[in-house]
């Protein structure tokens, strides 16, 4: 008897037919599904693309125009090509600001990461009122930077402020934290770490919460020391979160204007002038829009490179 009914799944599979319908090959169905998915993805991404173009695209193009012109705050000026970039790159002030930005970023990122990691590990253990401490330690991140910079100013600005008075009481002299160039740089960096460590603490706490504790028990049974457990288990398991937090903190540090400007104004003698502060001064105090925007462009290019490297590192760590 000749069968006219649809073939069974097994025989259809042997004949290379897809389970979806007669005659539909897997490839065609896959491409149809893929086309549908692509369409859905397009519509889901569209709002963010529109917003990105509107908010970032136009100012970016306008800034590119300004960076290649010798204008000021009122007019665009004449086209000068790469002259602004050349002038900026040959300026000692730019390299001094770049050096300070580099140190500020390194200390800001790794200082806050180390403090955040230490506190996250400490708060992971059972401590009385642990949750209260978690909330209290978030306050430096939550309090507006204007408020905290005022408080820090009050603490360190004059010889009669609280912290210089403590130093004097301990017989360590009267350090002028915001008047001495080196001390001012250190103070700004410490302030940045103080503001930023709660963010790192939150990120690391979230990453630590997802680590399975049985891994530690297994390692302990295998004779791993606490240090080995920390370096061989904890750090690798929070690596992805660590890279993300480093990227974000790098953004926060390099683009940080208020922390520096409100505490020291970039002084004394430009010791705490970062690239952002320099760009601001160039545009709004020297009224040289072109070089100011050129500084911002150079910063962006450098940071995009760092971003790509760290982004690849994240992808690598997630594959591993």
């Amino acid at each position: 008897m000749t069968s006219t009914t649809a073939p069974s799944g097994l025989s259809r599979a042997r004949r290379g037919l897809a389970p979806g319908g007669p005659g539909a090959s897997p490839g065609k169905r896959k491409s149809k599904l893929s086309a549908q998915t692509t369409k859905t993805f397009f519509w889901l991404l569209l709002p963010s693309v529109v917003l990105l173009v509107l908010i970032h695209g136009y100012p970016l193009i306008h800034a590119a125009v300004q960076a290649t012109h010798d204008g000021d705050l009122l007019q665009t000026g004449n086209f000068v090509g790469g002259e602004n970039f050349a002038n900026v790159l040959s300026s000692p002030a730019f390299w001094r600001a770049a050096q300070f930005t580099l140190w500020f970023t390194i200390v800001g990122v790794f200082g806050s990461w180390l403090v955040g990691l230490g506190l996250a590990l400490l708060l992971r253990t059972k401590i009385p009122a642990g949750n209260t401490f978690k909330v209290l330690l978030l306050l430096p991140w939550v309090v507006p930077i204007v408020v905290s910079s005022t408080a820090w100013n009050w603490l360190v600005a004059t010889p009669d402020s609280l912290i210089p008075s403590i130093f004097r009481g301990l017989g360590l002299g009267t350090p002028l934290f915001l008047a001495d160039p080196t001390l001012a740089s250190i103070t700004v960096m410490v302030f940045k770490v103080w503001v930023s460590f709660p963010f790192m603490m939150m990120m690391i706490s979230a990453a630590l919460a997802s680590v399975d504790t049985t891994v530690y028990e297994a390692a302990s049974m295998d004779g791993a020391s606490r240090w080995q457990q920390f370096t061989q288990i904890t750090l690798p398991l929070i690596a992805r979160s660590t890279y993300i937090s480093w990227i974000l903190m790098t953004i926060f540090c390099v683009n940080d204007f208020p922390t520096i400007y409100l505490l020291t104004g970039g002084g004394p003698v430009s010791a705490t002038t970062s690239l952002v502060v320099l760009a601001y001064r160039t545009v709004f105090q020297d009224f040289a829009t072109g070089p100011g925007v050129a500084i911002a462009f150079l910063m962006t290019m450098t940071l995009v490179v760092i971003s790509v490297i760290l982004y690849r590192q994240i992808r690598k760590s997630s594959v591993e």
């Binding site: 990105l52 136009y58 665009t76 253990t125 401590i127």
Partner: protein, 168 residues
């Protein structure tokens, strides 16, 4: 009798197993001591960290240089609410915050879904572009734009939808 089997390196208390085989948490003397040491340590760190914030609070309730009040006072707070437009500022902050959160979540949630599910190079590239976008020194560039005709065009467009002037 309870035998301490294992003290977890990062969880503090040790696990104990009673003679009946029932697992229960037993804090050894060393564990308890360590716990209180950690408490003292975190308390000290918290106090040091919160000094600037405590200073802010103290200053808020301390009389100003031109004040006749002495000691603890609400004068500064009263001045803020009576002598300034604090209510308007608060309203502005709330409106800005709420609208930013709503728009950000509405736009970022669908995009985040695609970025997490999409495996194509286009999605990957867009993800990289998004991660780079905060690097743009936006406040400075916006200020630069706002100072010239560019931002004027923007504000005009947003202020009056009928405006069709083109950017310079």
């Amino acid at each position: 009798m309870s035998a301490v089997l294992h003290a977890h390196p990062e969880s503090g208390p040790a696990l104990g197993i009673s003679e009946t085989g029932k697992t229960r948490r037993v804090l050894s003397e060393a564990g308890m001591r360590g716990r209180w040491w950690r408490f003292v340590l975190i308390l000290a760190i918290t106090v040091i960290v919160l000094v600037p914030i405590m200073v802010t609070v103290v200053l808020a309730f301390t009389p100003g240089p031109n004040s006749t009040a002495t000691g603890f006072t609400f004068e500064n707070l009263a001045n803020v609410f009576n002598g300034t437009l604090a209510a308007t500022w608060l309203q502005n902050s709330l409106v800005t915050t709420l609208s930013t959160v709503v728009v950000s979540v509405a736009v970022a949630a669908p995009a985040g879904y695609v970025l997490s599910r999409g495996r194509s190079k286009a999605v990957s590239g867009y993800s990289l572009l998004l991660s780079c976008s905060p690097y743009r020194s936006s406040p400075r560039w916006f200020r630069c734009s706002s100072s010239s005709q560019g931002w004027d065009w923007w504000t005009t467009c947003w202020a009056s939808p009928s405006s069709t002037s083109v950017p310079p």
